[in-house]
């Protein structure tokens, strides 16, 4: 049987300017997924997971060609300037320069590595790997591609969903074709909106609004600032911990997978002008949205009026 054994792909995970939220998220993946991941991927180094070898030794082996590097995972924003951000005693600037032509794939995990996110607000030279917000002037500029021919793959989110990280790496390991959107995020996870699969869709349709957090009833859009209809994510399709999502728990989506996440502020407020939302769901005109919501508000869906537990 030995001949059938396939070499596990190798991966190192490095951290820039980060709260390590994506590492925490990754560690919260389901045991089934994580098992599958470990069966296919050899994690050579992760700052919170591996302990048998030091980073400097693995890094040296990779640079000397003794170890092949399939996946370079970067968590956190980085700097376009030297000697600003360090990882395990090495300048991240140099790590990225040295590994950019060695790693088969480079994956930005989380909004900081993808778009710069909050750290980028504080300095012009702080960036994501390929983007700074929605501009392609990150650490690697323009149409940079890695050895595999793929551009930097962004798994955005603050943090990124563990299943998106795992399934992206596994898809590439298995040789599947990975389709990316304009912000270089895998379509499989980001072609959906948070709104898709939200258990409150009926409340949205009939314009029955929640006025407080944590309830099972009501749409979180109008009063509580939910960004579900404007945010690309599959949070309500691939649930967190296989169980739930923000909106299912009565917490509005705060749009953390989008490049403008740190630029917005007021996360629990839908900006209204004379009572009309300034932004409307993606894909419809404001005129169409207002017209439809006006019609919906005229009618009453009696099932949605009271507590769900008491509804027939």
């Amino acid at each position: 049987m030995e001949s059938l054994k396939v070499r596990r792909k190798s991966l190192i995970w490095i951290s820039g300017l980060t709260c390590n939220g994506n590492s925490h998220s990754f560690l919260s993946s389901s045991s089934l997924s994580f098992d599958a991941f470990l069966n296919s991927v050899n994690i050579l180094f992760h700052p919170a997971l591996t302990y048998d070898r030091e980073f400097k030794d693995i890094y040296k082996d990779i640079l000397e060609g003794k170890l092949k590097l399939d996946f370079l995972i970067v968590e956190g924003a980085v700097s376009k300037k030297k000697t600003k951000v360090y990882f395990q005693g090495f300048d991240i600037y140099e790590i990225l320069e040295n590994l950019k032509n060695i790693a088969e794939y480079i994956i930005a995990v989380g909004n900081c590595a993808s778009f710069g996110n909050f750290p980028a607000l504080y300095s012009e030279d702080v960036v994501g790997l390929n983007f700074r917000f929605n501009q392609r002037n990150g650490f690697f500029e323009g149409d940079f591609t890695t050895k595999s021919g793929m551009p930097i793959i962004n798994i955005s989110g603050c943090p990124a969903h563990p299943e998106w990280i795992i399934k992206t790496v596994l898809s590439l390991s298995y040789g599947y074709d990975l389709k990316l959107g304009s912000l270089q995020r895998p379509k499989d996870f980001y072609m959906y909106l948070t709104h898709d699969g939200c258990t409150r869709n009926q409340y949205f349709e009939w314009k029955v609004e929640a006025e407080e957090f944590g309830t099972k009833e009501g749409c979180l859009f109008y009063y509580l600032g939910c960004r579900g209809p404007l945010t690309h994510s599959s949070c309500n399709k691939i649930l967190w911990n296989d169980k739930s999502s923000k909106t299912r728990a009565g917490m509005p989506c705060i749009g953390c997978t989008e490049f403008d996440f740190p630029l917005r502020g007021k996360y629990f407020e839908t900006k209204l002008n004379i009572g009309i939302p300034e932004e409307v769901p993606l894909g419809v005109s404001k005129r169409a949205y207002i017209m439809l919501s006006g019609v919906a508000k005229t009618f009453t869906n009696h099932r949605l009026k009271g507590k769900l537990e008491e509804a027939d």
């Binding site: 004379i274 009572g275 017209m291 006006g294």
Partner: protein, 201 residues
């Protein structure tokens, strides 16, 4: 295509005549034979255009709303200041009231006075959706630009529609000393001052 256009034209003709008859005689005192006769068509033929008197009554409201909504939309999309748009909307409303008095009369004397006729399929904003939508878009844009003060939609909405409705009502009662259009600028100024943000002049 020609057939469809002809049918549409005929429907407009029926609307024009019926809204006048309804306003003059009242909804219940106007019969389909009355309307058919005034249009010059057979009663049987009338039913090719509308299923019932109620159906016609609702259509007249939708028709009026789409005319006014279209005018508000045109003004909204003009490249002029929010203040000028307020004045233009007021002026255009009064002009339409003069060009099509039967539609305004219908709104005041039938739509507002016979709510039971409109209780199914025309409740709330269903038959006047276009006017309301266009005013929402207009108000939203004005507030977004900082020209209008932030407030709830309904107070702002009645601030625009209230004076206009009042003026055409007074005109209908024959007690306005001047031609309605002569009040357009003053009403425009009143509405603008009521809605504008504090720093605007």
């Amino acid at each position: 295509m020609v057939r469809k256009l002809l049918k549409e034209k005929k429907r407009e003709e029926i609307v024009k005549v019926a809204s006048r008859l309804f306003s003059e005689r009242g909804f219940y005192n106007t019969t389909i034979p009355d309307i058919a006769e005034a249009v010059g068509m057979s009663v049987g033929n009338f039913y090719n255009y509308f299923e019932s008197k109620e159906d016609l009554a609702k259509y007249i409201m939708q028709y009026s709303s789409s005319i006014l909504g279209e005018e508000i939309r045109k003004i909204s999309q003009m490249d002029v200041s929010t203040k000028e748009k307020v004045f233009l909307i007021v002026r255009r409303f009064i002009e339409i009231a003069q060009e099509r008095p039967e539609l305004i009369d219908y709104f005041l004397r039938i739509f507002l006075s016979n709510r039971e006729v409109f209780s199914e399929g025309c409740e709330g904003f269903l038959c006047v959706g276009e006017v309301v939508t266009e005013l929402m878009l207009f108000l939203e844009e004005g507030a977004r630009k900082g020209d209008f003060r932030q407030q709830d939609f309904f107070p702002a909405f009645v601030t625009i529609m209230g004076p206009l409705g009042g003026l055409v009502f007074l005109k209908g009662e024959g007690i306005l000393p001047k031609n309605p259009i002569e009040y357009a600028n003053e009403i425009g100024e009143n509405i603008w001052r009521a809605l504008k943000s504090d720093e605007k002049v």
